[in-house]
Symmetry: D2
C-alpha cells in the first residue's frame, strides 16, 4: 500500500455484517482501531496490556467509505502518523483489498495524548516523537 510503512491484516467476521450483507459502517472504525492499536505496539508505544498506559484518546475521526467490504475479503489496513503536534497526533489510514488493491475506505483520526491515570491530556512524550519520526521518516516538530 503506497505511502504506508505499517500494514495490519484484518479478519472480516460474519458478525461484522449488517442486513445489507456487507460490513457495517461502525465496524470500519473497529478495523481502524485495531490497526492503530497494533501500530502502537509495533513501535513500542504501548505494551498491549496496561490499559491506563495506553496514552491516547480519540478526539475526532473522519471516514470515507469507498467500496462495500464483504465476508472473506482480504482486507489490509494501512496506518501512519502524518503529523505530531504538541498535544496530539494525526493518524491517517486506508483500507484496501489485499488481492486487487481496490481502495475500501480511508480517513484520519485526531488522537490526543492522554494520561488515563490522571484523566488529563498531556504533551506528546519525547520518546514517542523520536520513535514515530524514525519509523515514519518524518520530522517531529515539537
Amino acid at each position: 500500500m503506497p505511502g504506508y510503512r505499517f500494514i495490519c491484516p484484518i479478519q472480516v467476521r460474519y458478525g461484522d455484517l449488517d442486513p445489507q450483507g456487507h460490513v457495517n459502517n461502525a465496524g470500519i472504525l473497529t478495523y481502524i482501531e485495531q490497526a492503530r492499536i497494533t501500530y502502537l505496539q509495533k513501535l513500542e508505544l504501548w505494551n498491549g496490556t496496561s490499559f491506563l498506559d495506553l496514552g491516547l484518546i480519540v478526539a475526532d475521526v473522519h471516514v470515507s467509505y469507498l467500496a462495500p467490504i464483504y465476508l472473506n475479503q482480504n482486507v489490509q489496513a494501512g496506518m501512519r502518523v502524518s503529523r505530531i503536534g504538541n498535544k496530539s497526533l494525526i493518524f491517517e489510514y486506508a483500507l484496501e483489498d489485499g488481492a486487487t488493491h481496490t481502495p475500501l475506505a480511508k480517513g484520519e483520526a485526531l488522537m490526543v495524548a492522554y494520561d488515563y491515570h490522571q484523566k488529563t491530556s498531556i504533551g506528546v512524550p519525547e520518546d514517542w516523537r523520536e520513535k514515530i519520526a524514525r519509523f515514519e521518516g518524518i520530522v517531529a516538530h515539537s
Copy 2:
C-alpha cells in the same frame, strides 16, 4: 436539544464499553446509525423491515468526541437533515447528556441515495425531499 426536531434516546450498554471504562469510539457510530434509522422510520422514508428498500448508503462520516460516555448515562441523540442534494443528503447529529445537557459528540454524515435492488446510486426521491423539507422546515433544492 436546540436545533434538533428529532431526538432519539440511546440505551448505553455494558457491551459498548471498552477497557477504558467508557463507550468505545466505534460505538458512537452505532448510536448515530440508530438515530438515523429511527429518523427514517419516523418520517416514513423506510418501513423498518425491507432492507433492500432502505434507500441510503453511508459515503462519509465525521465524528468529534467531546466527552466520554459512561454506563447509565442518559444519552440523547439529535438528528437532522441539513442539506438535500441531487443524489445525497447531509445528516447532522449531536449526542448529549439528557440530564445535564453536556455535549458528548457531534458530527455529520454524507448519505447517498441508493437502490439496493439495482446496487446503484439514484436521485433523492421527490417524496423524500418533501417529507424531509416539511419536517425540518428547510427548502429542498433539487
Copy 3:
C-alpha cells in the same frame, strides 16, 4: 413476565442485526448481560462505575433461541437469581416481546463470585445472599 421480579427493557439496534435481518445470536448474550448488570445495580450489588468491584465472572452460559428478534421489537428481559451457592450463583433469564408476550429466548448463566483486584474467585459475600434472597424471596443456602 411470570416468575420474574426484575424486568429490563432492551433497545434493539440496527447494529445488532445480521445479514438474515434479525438480531445476531451473539447479540442475545449482550442483551442478557445488560439485564444482569442492571439487576446488580438495582439490588445495590455493584455501583456501576468501579469495574474491579464488579464481583462476578461468567463461567458458563446457555441460551435457547425461541424466535427471531427484529428491529423495533419491544424486547423485555427478565432476570432472576435462582440459586446461591458457596462460590457461585445461577442467573436465569428470559426475553419476551413486551407487546405480545411471545417468548424470544431463555437460558441461564453460572456466575462465579470473583475479586478482580486479587484475580481470584471468592465466596459469595454475605450481604449479597441477604439482598438477593430478600429481593427474590428465596432461601440463601450458604
Copy 4:
C-alpha cells in the same frame, strides 16, 4: 487441537475487550460463529455470499468459559459436527491458545436446517450428510 479436523484462527480485536480488559463473554459467540461460517464454506455447504442460502439457524448454544482471552492472544477455534439428526446438527467447538494449548472455552450449538427463502425448517440435505460425514469420518444417521 485433538479431536478437531477443522481449525480456524481468530484475530482478537481491541474492540472485543470489555472494562475487565479481556474479551467480553458475548464476543466468544462471535468467534464461534466465525469458525462455523468458515467450516460451512470449507465443506462447500455455503458459498459465503447468498445469505438466504445459509441453510442453518441457531436453536441453542452452550459455552463454558475456561480462561480469560486477552488482546494479542493466539486464539484457535476448533469446530466439528458431532451429530447429524433429521432436521438438525450438533456443532461442538473449542477455543484454545495456539501457543500454549491452554483451553479457553468450549461448548456446543444445536443448529437447525433452515430455508430462509421459505422461512421454515427443513430436513438436513442429503449432500450435507455426505460431505460432513466424509470430512468428519462419522456415520450420518438419517
